[in-house]
């Protein structure tokens, strides 16, 4: 069963910081300035892998989710995870 993480956005920033070897504050400044954080699609895929591992939920993100829109920004990654996690919770609740 998937581990629940209270704040997906925070955890995503933490994983992006790890992959890009950037200080979290630097990333947050970038988010504040631009309204979002753009990442390379390979960074996006790595972050998905790390977060799925943290959630103990490998395979949560499906083939059809792996679009440029979903993988290349913090907002895209967050939306994608929230949607899939919502479905998982729905399945578990139902």
């Amino acid at each position: 069963m998937a581990v629940r993480i209270a704040n997906i956005r925070d955890t995503l920033i933490e994983k992006i910081a790890y992959v890009r070897n950037k200080d979290r504050k630097t990333l947050e400044s970038e988010i504040k300035a631009k309204g979002d954080l753009e990442v390379d699609s390979k960074v996006g895929q790595a972050v998905v892998g790390y977060l799925e591992m943290a959630l103990k939920s490998e395979g949560l993100i499906r083939v059809e989710d792996q679009t440029k829109e979903n993988l290349t920004s913090l907002k895209g990654l967050e939306r994608m995870f929230e949607r899939r996690l919502q479905e998982t919770r729905g399945d578990a609740d139902g």
Binding site: D40, K42, Q45, A46, V48, M53, G59
Partner: protein, 285 residues
Amino acid sequence: MADLIQRESLADAWVAAMEFLLDRGGKSFHLDVAFPAARYEPGSPPWEVINEFLISHDKQELKTVVNTIFPEDLYSPDLGEEAAARLYENYAMSMRVHQRTGRGNDQETYFNRLISYPVTVGGTDGLSKQQRELLSDDGRFNQLDFYIDRLRRQRERGHRRSSYELGTTHFLDVDLRIQAPFRDKGIGSFPCLSHISLTLVDDHVNLNATYRNQFLVERGFGNYVGLARLTEFIARESGANAGEVQIVATGADPELDNFKVSELRRLIAKCHESMGTKPKAVVNV
């Protein structure tokens, strides 16, 4: 007959190769292109011109092509001795997700073959205990890590000149192999890049890449950038300098089946404009 194109920059080399193929009227064989590894910064001209052309034709973006050979955004040289290991870890994590997107060799990338070569396809019976210890639990071999370590040790011992050549010797003793016998069986499918040889000369790492077939428009520029960045990575991690990149395309294809000659000529003219250069006569040696 083979054709050699040598230029002082990666961008000049690609433009010259395209001009050469267009002047010749199509495909060529044994096209040999050489340029210094260290003088092109991704994103600088004519990157945008080529990228816009590819996107307008529904082709993969340049960055995607470059990433198949060297995923630069996953590498942080600032990490020092841990930088390479972090790159491998990040890439392995990305591949767990990437490999959901395809079947068979559609899942593969060149960089993955460099750090996770499928040794066990042919079995491990012929391997020594020492060789088996180089493999991961699932029988994969990190060639890059192995050869960077070897280059580093070679430099420390003062052997500044050596080459790793593909021959009939065992894969663990030779160079960076992409093509995997038995696994890569499809004609015209992955991998187009067959293998990479490294040569350490005067403390510079030089890289030779051999393509079975190379699509110069869809992939060529991205291939050149990826190989240059890979050379820089290997040089940095082994403590040496980046030298020359040489790319031999046993089949070189300007893709006239997919693009009109007139639009490719316009593309090359725009590249020249962005680079501040003029079309030159191609030098054949």
